[in-house]
Structure formats: C-alpha cells, structure tokens
C-alpha cells in the first residue's frame, strides 16, 4: 500500500497538522509520500523530508499553486493519485477545500475528519457536532480522507531522511485567481497547536474587552479563541472561532470565559485535557464539561487572574 499525504504549509515552513496526518497514514500502513505543492516552497519541502516516517517528498513548486488555489492543486493531486491507494490531508481549511474536489474527480466518496484508524478501510469520525461517533467502512479502491489533527499524535519533525523529487507537471484549471488576503499577524502560538487556549464569548460584551483575555493569554503564552457569538458580533476575527464549524482544539488547558457552552462550541474544545469555565451563570452548560468552574463576573475574575499569574 502507498499513501499520499498533502502537506499543510505556508511555503516557508511545514504546519504541525501535517505531522499528525502522517501518524494517521502510518496507522493505515504502507509507504508514505508527502506532497508539498506551493510557490517558492523549497524550505517547506526540506522540513517535510526531515519528518519521521516519510519515504518520499514530492515538491510541486509553481506560481499556479501559490495561495493553495483548490482548482489547481486538486488537478495535480488527482493526477498523482493514480499511483496511490489513499490520499490524506489534514482537516484544515485548505484540506477541506481541496480534497473533496480530488475525491469527486476520482469518482470516490470521501471521509471527512477521521479521529481514528480502525483498519486500512475502517475509520471513526464524529457526526452531529460530535454528539455521535460513527464507525464507517469504505469499499472504494482509493481512499480519500481528511484527518482531525487533534485526534492523532504528531510524528517527530526530525530524524527522517526522505528522498526529494521535484515534479514538473503544471495543472492550471484557469478558472480561479488570487486577489488578496488579510491574515492575522500575531506572536502568539497558533490556535490549533497551542498548549493553552483562552477563549471569550458574548459575555465579553465588545472587542475592546478582549484585552482582558489578551493579558491572561500573554502570561500563559496561550492562543486566543472565541465563540461564534463573539465572532458574529464583530468582537474578534473569524479565524478565532472554535467549534463544530470553526476550529477544533485540544490543548492541555482550555479556559472558556463568558461562553455558555452550546453543543456547537463544545464540539470544538471538549477533547481538551483540562477545561476551566468562568461564567456568572452557575447553570451554564459549560460547567458540565469543566474540570474547574468559577462562578464569577468575568470583569472581576479576569483582572484577578492576570494579577495572580
């Protein structure tokens, strides 16, 4: 068996979720190849070659793959897939954008966000906002799968010594082009990779009050997250949303502040190791998943917490 894993990267470096996806691929068994498709992505390719468990790295370095345009990258992956039994990608925004396009082009069903590999054709995945875990079996000759990174350990980023091959085919669908992007710049750890996440909800009342969260996050070297209500209200940007339809996080410590604990929010954070909830409503559902609950006004508790750390 051989498996192609689509690397998540920003050309300069490999994103951590790639390493968790390699672990899922190793659990299926066989030879693992990593595809680094991008523009000026040699540095990410070199990191990919050092990842543990990877036999070969394919580098597709061309302007048409800049900005991860799904139409172009899916064309490339569909061509490459002829040589593989399975294609895996992390269930990131890019993975979710690209992989269904590949699956349809190969005329196979796709499995989204698997959380365990039971065998080479049987997997577990959450459905209904994680209220139910389904065990599913695929009889497709080629498996096309996205992997929930938080459900798998990462392979070591170093120690590997994969062959590196440059691809020269260029697949340009010619139907889409990049215009612009507005990416958040922050010195904080990335939300999905951080050991500690501090999130705020509608209880924060406005964007300015997120400074209180920021101060605590600074002390803990934590990433900042938010509920949908806080994002919809414009307190914070969309890339901070944690939940069923936002980001999935599973840090060592998750602190939910002014968040009620709707199932859609819990779906994104309830696999965290330790959960703390700060809420003034003692009946808030978030307390039913919290290891440590503090019933308090957040405008009192957050400054106290900042001072105590």
């Amino acid at each position: 068996m051989s498996i192609l894993v689509i690397a998540e990267h920003d050309n300069a470096s490999l994103k951590g979720a790639t390493l968790n996806t390699v672990t899922a691929a190793l659990a299926m068994g066989g030879d693992i190849h990593l595809l680094v498709a991008g523009s000026d992505c040699a540095a990410a390719g070199a990191e990919a070659a050092a990842a543990h468990g990877v036999a070969k790295v394919l580098i597709a370095d061309n302007a048409v793959y800049a900005h991860q345009l799904a139409e172009n990258i899916a064309g490339l992956v569909t061509e490459l897939a002829a040589d593989y039994d399975a294609v895996l990608a992390p269930a990131t925004g890019n993975g979710k954008n690209i992989l269904p396009r590949v699956a349809a082009s190969l005329d196979v069903q796709m499995l989204s966000e698997i959380i365990s590999v039971e065998s080479a054709d049987t997997f577990k995945r959450p459905i209904y906002a994680g209220n139910v875990i389904a065990t599913v079996q695929s009889t497709d000759a080629k498996k096309v799968i996205t992997v929930r990174a938080t459900a798998f350990d990462a392979v070591s980023a170093s120690g590997g010594n994969a062959d590196v091959v440059s691809l020269d085919q260029v697949t340009d669908a010619g139907v889409s082009s990049f215009v612009s992007e507005e990416l958040a710049v922050s010195d904080r750890p990335e939300l999905t990779a951080a050991n500690i996440v501090v999130s705020g909800g509608r209880g924060m009342q406005n964007g300015d009050n997120f400074k209180l969260i920021e101060a605590v996050a600074d002390k803990l070297n934590a990433a900042m997250g938010a509920s949908r209500a806080a994002v919809d209200a414009g307190f914070v940007p969309n890339d901070m949303q944690v939940g069923q339809t936002g980001k999935i996080v599973a840090p060592d410590l998750y602190v939910a502040v002014g968040i009620s604990g709707a199932i859609q929010h819990l779906a994104g954070m309830k696999d965290s190791k330790v959960i703390v909830a700060i809420n003034k409503d003692e009946d808030a559902p978030i307390f039913s998943v919290a290891d440590y609950g503090l019933v308090a006004d957040l405008f009192v508790a957050l400054p106290e917490l900042d001072a105590a750390l």
């Binding site: 459905i127 209220n131 890339d239």
Partner: protein, 249 residues
C-alpha cells in the same frame, strides 16, 4: 443571472441527537427537522442578489424523501422562484448528491450555484467542492462576502489565518460560511404565496444518475463522556489547582 441553491433537510441544530439503543444509527424518530442553517444563508444570499437586480431567477433544489418538500416550500417562501425535488429514499452521500446536482446544473445552466459549506448532520463539508469538480468550474468555499462583476465573481473566503479573496470565472460554485449574511424569516403572506410556486419532481433515474454508496456505517456510539469537575470558590483557588493538581500552568 440564474442562481441555483441546493438545500438540505437536517435535524434541527438545537436537538441533541443520540445513537439508537442497538447502535445501528442515530435516533431520528420524532426529532425536529429544519433547513440546514448554512442552506438558509445560501437562500438568503440568492434572494439578496435578486433584490439587488443581479439575479433574475432563483431555483431551489433538494434531494431526499418526499418530506424535503417542506424545506423547499420554506425556500420558496424566503424568495426562491421555483423548486426542484429529486426524490429518493436512499440517503445519497455527498458524491451522489453532487452527481444529482450536476445533472440539474446541466439542465438549467445556472450562472451561480450556492450551497452551504457543511450539513450539520453528517458534518461532511464536501458537496459544493465535489459539484464544482464534476462541473469543471471554480469554487469559492466558506464565503463571507461575494460580489458579482459581469462574467466573474469575487469571493472573500474564511480561511484558517483570516480572509482570502479570489476571483472566479462564472459559472461557479459558492459555499456559505456563517458571516455571509443573516437570514430573514419568511412572512405569512410569503408562506401562502409559496404554496402556489412551481415545484418539479425528478427521480435519480430520470436524471440518469446511478447512486452507489461505497461508505457504510458500521455502528454509531456516544462520545466519551466528560465528567463535570468541581467548582472553585476564588481565582486564587483556581490558580492553585491548575498549578498543583492539574499541573497545566
């Protein structure tokens, strides 16, 4: 411009679903069903395009058993002009849905096809991308803003690091994210009017689509339960526990 909107009937987002006792599937008896929230956003966006004079006709499509007519009538009440139901009891998976939608796209030649980014029952997040692949057209997934200009479409997408804007050649597929718009409610007069709007019915056979499900559900089970922990009385106690008991800070 002709706009096609694909909508799905799903368990209402407020329902906490449970597995059946035998673990064969989820319990759907007597459970409230609704229009998938992302599909509401899709319908709303089409209606806004029509109100702005950009769209001339809105066609709502749903695939499923006869009861999906309820959701199609909702879409008609919200402003769709006509509806198409592809009637099947076979619960097609995303590739099957995409193939059926592709057949409808071939019949209707819409300029823009709007879907939800995700159905909140299966949490697949696949159908729009699959349809775009089958139709060989561009995809603006997870859209938080769209702007139509002649034969192209600018789509602002919610990506992991923030926002990305792309230009797509029309026809194209758009999948909606939560911030694209805030859907309206249907008014009573519009609900009455919707009953008279046309609704065509096809079967997968009529569309020459063969549905084969290659993914089977072996079992469903509840997730590992998290036990509620303790309440702490003060911030100091919280910090002490996190340091000495949980050892996470």
């Amino acid at each position: 411009m002709k706009v096609l909107v694909a909508i799905k009937r799903v368990v209402d987002y407020n329902v906490k679903v449970r597995p059946k006792a035998d673990g064969s599937d989820v319990e759907l008896n007597n459970v409230k069903m609704s229009l998938n929230p992302f599909c509401e956003i899709a319908v709303e966006e089409a209606v806004r395009l029509k109100e702005a004079g950009t769209a001339s006709e809105i066609i709502a499509v749903s695939i499923g058993p006869k009861v999906v007519q309820e959701q199609l009538r909702t879409a008609l009440a919200l402003g769709a002009d006509r509806a198409i139901m592809v009637e099947t009891d076979s619960e097609p998976q995303p590739l099957g849905v995409a193939k059926l939608l592709k057949a409808i796209v071939d019949k209707e030649s819409p300029d823009l096809i709007i879907l939800g980014k995700q159905s909140i029952d299966g949490d697949n997040n696949q159908t729009g991308q699959m349809l775009a692949a089958l139709a060989g057209i561009g995809q603006g997934t997870f859209a938080s803003n769209i702007e139509v200009a002649d034969s192209t479409l600018n789509v602002t997408r919610e990506v992991d690091g923030g926002l990305q804007t792309v230009t797509l050649t029309l026809p194209a597929v758009v999948t909606t994210d939560l911030r694209l718009n805030e859907p309206r409610y249907a008014s009573l007069p519009n609900i009455m009017k919707a009953k008279k709007k046309p609704l065509d019915i096809f079967t997968p056979d009529d569309l020459a689509v063969n549905l084969t499900n290659t993914v089977s559900m072996i079992k469903v089970e509840p997730p590992a339960e998290r036990q509620a922990g303790i309440k702490v009385a003060s911030v100091d106690e919280l910090v002490e526990k996190l340091k000495n008991e949980a050892k996470v800070i």
